[in-house]
């Protein structure tokens, strides 16, 4: 019998690095553990999925730690958040969803988004997927 693996659902609502990294680390770890992971990028989080845009800001409260994070990424000890998600998608079960309401508010088109975005969803669709999750987070 195939073991039913747990599922992780994360809502990402910010394009600041201090939010994107924890979300990407948890999603990629879930994928490595053979879990499913669903990421719903909404409001300012959705900006992080725009093509040709590399989020580089950290929340002001944590400004003093920005260089430490950049150094960790440059040294290779910490992968880039986007690569964690992309590679996690290639190897495991990560789904990336864009919030339809945000796309309307910020005038973002599907073509503006990274190719690894699986679908554009509304809140009801995401909630109905997330209701089966054992771990649900809002970041």
């Amino acid at each position: 019998m195939v073991k039913k693996m747990p599922k992780l659902s994360i809502i990402i609502s910010s394009d600041k690095l201090d939010k994107l990294y924890p979300a990407a680390i948890l999603a990629s770890t879930a994928a490595a553990m053979d879990w499913e992971a669903e990421l719903f990028f909404t409001f300012w989080g959705l900006l992080a999925l725009k093509k040709d845009y590399e989020p580089s800001e950290i929340s002001l409260d944590y400004a003093q730690y920005k260089n430490a994070l950049i150094k960790a990424v440059e040294s290779g000890s910490m992968p880039k958040w986007k690569n964690l998600i992309k590679e996690g998608k290639e190897k495991g079960k990560i789904k990336v969803y864009a919030c339809s309401a945000t796309m309307g508010v910020f005038n973002i088109k599907k073509d503006d988004l990274e190719d690894f975005v699986d679908n554009v969803l509304g809140a009801a669709s995401f909630l109905s997927k997330a209701k089966d999750s054992q771990v649900t987070l809002f970041i």
């Binding site: 770890t29 490595a32 553990m33 000890s77 910490m78 992968p79 190897k91």
Partner: protein, 76 residues
């Protein structure tokens, strides 16, 4: 039992680097093959145990010397 041990060197990689490298190696390994992870991330032994519980391999040994964890896993 004499299958060559696969060594995964994830020293100086922070979480989740070691676990991702280990799971990648595990996917390419044969059943009963041993994969040895080298990691400096202090949570690696606990993380590997949690991963093993999830995916079903077998933990053979955990050793720590000079700040480097050596973790051997037998692939299911």
């Amino acid at each position: 039992m004499n299958e060559k041990i696969i060594v995964v060197d994830a020293r100086f990689k922070s979480c989740p680097g070691p676990l991702i490298a280990l799971s990648e190696a595990a996917k390419n390994a044969k059943s009963k093959q041993i994969v040895k992870l080298l990691a400096t991330d202090s949570a690696a032994p606990l993380d590997v145990k949690a991963w093993i519980e999830s995916v079903g391999h077998k933990l053979l040994k955990v050793l720590e010397k000079n700040g480097v964890c050596e973790i051997e896993v037998e692939i299911r």
